[in-house]
């Protein structure tokens, strides 16, 4: 049935099937000034056809509803139908070009609602060709290289000497929280959220886990860690084991305390909730990637009276953590905290590098704001400078 409908529709739509014996055909004016050229900034295989709209498109007889584009191998034709765009449009990208660097010929016809086509437009010729560079994206390349240089520079520097990163408030609380858990004789719960090993926040969480585990090893406190992802779980086991070894208590490490729960979001939340209610941990770390389950976890943790230290890069969930937890690492603070703890030169260098990038952006905004104000007050050429700055950022 569908095929039949499709055929019927095609018959109705194909311009060739127009009945030519109808007496009164009022043809719309054809589009004019057709040009064809290689579509810029692509991998080839595409020619852009442009034209001026028909005299009867939106004015005149006002009966044009679409434009049909045709392509031929020679200037004389024959021309095959290749595509259609709606009225008011003045371009079509022919992406069905088979060979690059071969000249193709195009004509465009306007068509009315009744299916009446205009005469053919002038014939335009063009070739497709690939480009190595997207010329509209120089701005991204320049800024990308600049930022990459910042990173490279600082990572190199970090390998030579220790770079300074300010202390993060939430980090000092780690010791306090583990200490209090120990005093109360309660375990510490570390929840890595529902991220995977390729999420930056999960990686940062694992670095923080290393620090927490070292403290629990020193204080001889049990650490419990339910997991959402098996890969994260095995990574976490390795990290905790290493921390215990570093703290000189490899025998205290219990692999079974770092276990897999489930990979269902709310199933995981319900499971962690259950653990909180049964084990009543003295300190809870909610670090990593969280979604809607964040509030459920943080609320339950709050209700069992634990000190809670949260951290995530998910902006929407930070408010929950801030309202229900004692300390929260906000977004990038979490990455900074993990670099601060790990002292890994690559991580430290990237934090420094992104700081440099921030300085660059702040300067651009400040310069832009000053130019904008001066331009707004019509002082000197600042208005045009401002506009070109804005345009530079708007390219591509």
């Amino acid at each position: 049935m569908n095929v039949l409908l499709a055929i019927l529709f095609l018959m109705q739509q194909t311009p060739d099937s127009l009945s030519t014996d109808t007496v009164e055909i009022v043809r719309p004016a054809p589009p004019t000034d057709v040009i064809a050229m290689d579509t810029p900034n692509d991998v080839g295989g595409s020619v852009s056809v442009q034209w001026e709209i028909s005299e009867d498109d939106g004015k005149g007889l006002n009966n044009v509803i679409l434009y049909n584009v045709f392509r031929g191998q020679s200037e004389e034709g024959p021309f095959d139908y290749i595509g259609t765009v709606g009225a008011g449009r003045t371009s079509y990208d022919d992406q069905t070009v088979e060979k690059d660097k071969v000249t193709y010929y195009y004509i465009v016809k306007a068509q009315t609602k009744e299916g009446v086509e205009s005469e053919a437009s002038n014939v335009a010729s063009g070739k497709a060709a690939p480009q190595w560079f997207h010329h509209g994206r120089w701005n991204i390349l320049i800024l990308g290289i600049l930022f990459a240089l910042f990173f490279a520079f600082y990572i190199r520097m970090a390998k030579g000497k220790e770079l300074f990163i300010r202390k993060i408030a939430g980090l000092d609380a780690v010791e306090e929280a583990v200490g209090r858990s120990t005093e109360m004789g309660k375990p510490v719960l570390f929840c890595p959220g529902i991220g995977y090993l390729y999420d930056i926040a999960t990686i940062a969480a694992l670095t923080i886990l290393g620090r927490v585990a070292k403290k629990t090893a020193e204080y001889e406190t049990r650490i419990i860690m339910p997991n959402y992802d098996p890969v994260v779980m095995s990574a976490a086991q390795e990290i905790v084991k290493q921390s215990y070894t570093e703290a000189g208590r490899p025998d205290d490490f219990n692999e079974k305390d770092i276990f897999y729960l489930t990979q269902d979001q709310f199933g995981f939340a319900a499971g962690v909730d259950g653990i909180m209610l049964r084990e009543k941990p003295g300190a809870i770390f909610l670090q990593g990637v969280f979604y809607a389950e964040a509030l459920i976890l943080a609320e339950t943790g709050h209700s069992v009276g634990a000190i809670q230290i949260a951290g995530t890069d998910r902006v929407t969930l930070l408010p929950f953590f801030i309202s229900a937890c004692d300390y929260t690492l906000i977004g990038e603070e979490m990455f900074a905290a993990s670099s601060y703890l790990s002292r890994d030169p690559v991580m430290l260098g990237s934090i420094k590098g992104s700081d440099a990038a921030k300085v660059a952006i702040i300067s651009v905004i400040l310069v832009g704001a000053i130019l904008g104000i001066l331009g707004g007050l019509n002082i000197g050429p600042f208005g045009t400078w401002f506009q070109s700055l804005v345009n530079w950022f708007g390219r591509g």
């Binding site: 300074f164 905004i365 591509g396």
Partner: protein, 238 residues
């Protein structure tokens, strides 16, 4: 004892309201609606206390959602992308000729993907790094340039789109002070510290707005269920 008494009185009131609605409204004749309604009420019973109805509904939900996701991904990823091209539509055979490239285009990614399973072994678990490296590497490559454009260029441009108005100054001020808060290379003291403090205010106001929206969203979910119970199930409202 007092709580038990309250519970009994509460249940009786709820049952009376329920029967009243059954009589007054037009209850659904669809068994699925009844099942959905009973499961909804079972979940809401958690608001009073964890209980067997809640546990049943929750486990059912976890099981069903996992089963559903597995079947959808199996059908759309494995069947449509691997099984069909290899055995049914045979995209690698064009006009009776075997073409190696389209064949490998299906087989190689499938094999790399299968390495994910290596995580279940102790010794070969490192093999999982190969598919993860592919995913991380290709996504980073694909997304660096567009995220630069979407998150840095467009956002800087729109911040710069200033008019001589109070709101655009507040915006620029907010953007800069927030960026300063996330500046880690210097201790937050003196001028920098004061600027960062202003930044944290902006962040907190933004979080407040977000929180407000969240409250709205959660209430909406309740409204959605209430609409279901009262309209679809009991038919007491128009």
């Amino acid at each position: 004892m007092k709580e038990r008494k309250g519970l009994i009185i509460g249940s009786v009131i709820l049952i009376i309201i329920f029967i009243g609605m059954l009589i007054k409204g037009e209850p659904s004749k669809n068994i699925m609606v009844w099942i959905a309604a009973i499961l909804t009420l079972s979940i809401y019973s958690f608001l009073y206390r964890d209980n067997i109805f809640y546990k049943f509904a929750e486990h059912l939900f976890v099981g069903v959602s996992v089963g559903y996701s597995v079947s959808v991904v199996y059908q759309n990823a494995f069947i449509r992308r691997v099984f069909d091209p290899l055995f049914i539509t045979r995209t690698y055979i064009v006009e009776g000729q075997f073409h190696i490239l389209p064949f490998l285009a299906v087989v190689i990614p499938t094999l790399i993907g299968l390495l994910m399973v290596s995580v279940f072994t102790k010794r070969q678990a490192w093999l999982i790094r190969i598919p993860i490296a592919f995913v991380v590497g290709s996504y980073a490559g694909m997304s660096i340039s567009p995220s630069f454009q979407a998150n840095i260029f467009e956002q800087t441009r729109s911040t710069l789109h200033i008019a001589l108005s109070i709101s655009s100054f507040i915006m620029i001020f907010g953007v800069i002070t927030t960026l300063v808060y996330f500046f880690f290379s210097k201790e937050h003291k003196g001028f920098l510290g004061r600027t960062a403090n202003v930044g944290i205010w902006f962040i907190m106001i933004a979080f407040g707005a977000s929180f407000g929206y969240t409250v709205m969203a959660r209430i909406s979910l309740l409204i959605g269920r209430m609409n279901f119970l009262l309209y679809d199930w009991l038919g007491v409202i128009k």
